[in-house]
């Protein structure tokens, strides 16, 4: 009996964490095939954890408020990019440039977050698809501003940023003046691996903020709203306002995260940098074992490690196995979409199973009451 219970525990553990286990197996198979040294993999993983964690952490608050995976985080990424374009034109370099870009992104993120939150309140129960479509809508406005208003209405003076026709931003904006300025601040080298201490400190600060925020009145309200909106409303919580705040917070943090991400890259692809960021952050979070209604800080770090490990080794493994690195490249992109689809199916199945179980229990209770 005891053995059976142990076996069922193992089975449950595997079933509840099937995605991380699947990725651990993929990585375990691909790492030896890829032929990368442990040192190289470690250096790459540390860089990618520092680069992506902040963005992925920004997804936690809407999940807490029961709004699912915030595909609308892309809006924050766009706000961060606008901040970086302006700062690059004003020639504000280094950490001050990053801070100023963050400050510029705040009002834009708040505005976009409020719009997104209000629309999501109207489309309750379908927040994820609404957020996803919102990206395309706001992306159109972003492109209108960046392609036509900047230079014509919003003053942009530097020829390295503006298109030769006199308005619109070039395809790529160089961020060399602030490239890795946060990563290099207090960075230490350990066995040839660079550890960006300050970036990790900023990420740690956000983790602490999230832990603290969960315990605040607003955090508790968000959790209550996430568990049951009607009960939360009955308890006197302004559900709509709480949900909007969660989206605004996520959008603002995503804007900051995008700035941290781009300072690491050292350049900004004006029209495409944000397009896939939401998708890949969400995929990384799901790989870490999160679901649509449950995510933790641990899921973020496990996810970013496994997901990016797969990203690093897949092309080389593809080259060794199939003689073509594109196979590996397709594989990792395919896996990213697949993991999101898988997580959504799992969530829906679980939800239906729970409601059907509740229905059966209710029917049984009624039957017994009739007797």
């Amino acid at each position: 009996m005891k053995e059976k219970s142990f076996a069922s525990k193992i089975w449950n553990l595997f079933r509840n964490n099937s995605v991380p286990f699947m990725f651990i197996i993929i990585c375990a198979v691909c790492i030896p095939i890829s032929g990368f040294s442990l040192n190289y993999l470690l250096a790459e993983i540390i860089t990618r954890i520092a680069r992506n964690s902040f963005l992925i952490l920004s997804l936690l608050i809407p999940i807490m408020a029961g709004m699912g995976l915030n595909f609308g985080m892309t809006l924050g990424a766009m706000a961060g990019e606008i901040g970086l374009i302006l700062v690059s034109d004003w020639q504000i370099w280094g950490i001050p440039g990053m801070v100023l870009a963050m400050i510029i992104s705040i009002p834009i993120s708040v505005l976009l977050g409020v719009i997104c939150g209000k629309i999501m309140n109207l489309a309750r129960g379908r927040e994820m698809i609404t957020g996803y479509i919102m990206n395309y809508f706001i992306n159109g406005i972003y492109q209108l501003i960046v392609l036509y208003a900047m230079g014509a209405i919003i003053p942009i003076v530097h020829s390295s940023i503006i298109l030769p026709r006199g308005y619109g931003i070039r395809n790529t904006v160089s961020l060399l003046s602030m490239r890795q300025s946060l990563d290099n601040l207090l960075a230490i080298r350990f066995g040839g691996i660079k550890i960006p201490v300050m970036t990790f400190a900023v990420v740690a600060l956000l983790c602490l903020f999230i832990v603290w925020f969960r315990k605040t009145k607003l955090g508790q309200d968000m959790r209550a709203v996430g568990q049951d909106m009607e009960v939360a409303r009955a308890a006197g919580i302004d559900v709509e306002r709480t949900r909007i705040i969660s989206i605004v917070m996520s959008t603002v943090l995503a804007g900051f995260g995008m700035i941290i991400y781009l300072q690491n890259m050292g350049n900004l692809s004006t029209y495409t940098a944000h397009s896939q960021i939401g998708m890949f952050c969400i995929a990384a979070l799901l790989v870490g074992g999160a679901s649509v209604d449950r995510a933790s800080i641990g899921n973020v770090f496990l996810g970013v490690t496994l997901f990016h490990l797969m990203f690093i080794v897949a092309p080389s493994a593809g080259t060794v196995l199939m003689g073509d690195s594109m196979i590996g490249e397709y594989f990792r992109v395919f896996v990213s979409y697949a993991v999101i689809t898988f997580a959504l199916i799992m969530y829906e199945t679980k939800k239906r199973r729970t409601s059907s179980l509740a229905g059966r229990e209710l029917a049984l209770a009624q039957k017994e009451a009739d007797k």
Binding site: Q91, W93, R170, M265, P315
Partner: protein
Amino acid sequence: MKISKSMLYKILTVVAILILAAVMMIIGRGHTIYLDNKAYDAQSGSYPAYYRTDIEVKNNEVQKLSARERGSATFMGQSVKITVTYMETKNSQKQTETFRIKVPYGWDGIIINLPALLHGEPKSAYMSQFIETPVEPSNAEEVVVTDEFVVGDI
């Protein structure tokens, strides 16, 4: 009109953020400084270029400049400390002088004429704005570093 405590906190936060932004704009303003070791002619006199100069900008060695050469460095902020170690002629003694120069906020590039600076000429004489020559747009493709998030062309 009475302002509530929470409204006061909100106003103070906004003011603090605006002050922070203003500070960042000042301390983070980047400039490129071009240091010319070239002869300088003015009404007050004519100064030849130095035989050799070693220049440090904000404690970072920039270049060793011979006569008629130009060096450059980048820095953030509104003032820059320049240390020049120079030899007037091949056989003369090395001398060192340090200057703290305030630069105009709106100038991206600043040209400093070293002979004029070292001979104590006024700021308007040794400092001028570097204006970039407009470059014809290149049709060459830009190399973009990505995070491998997009599948490339086949």
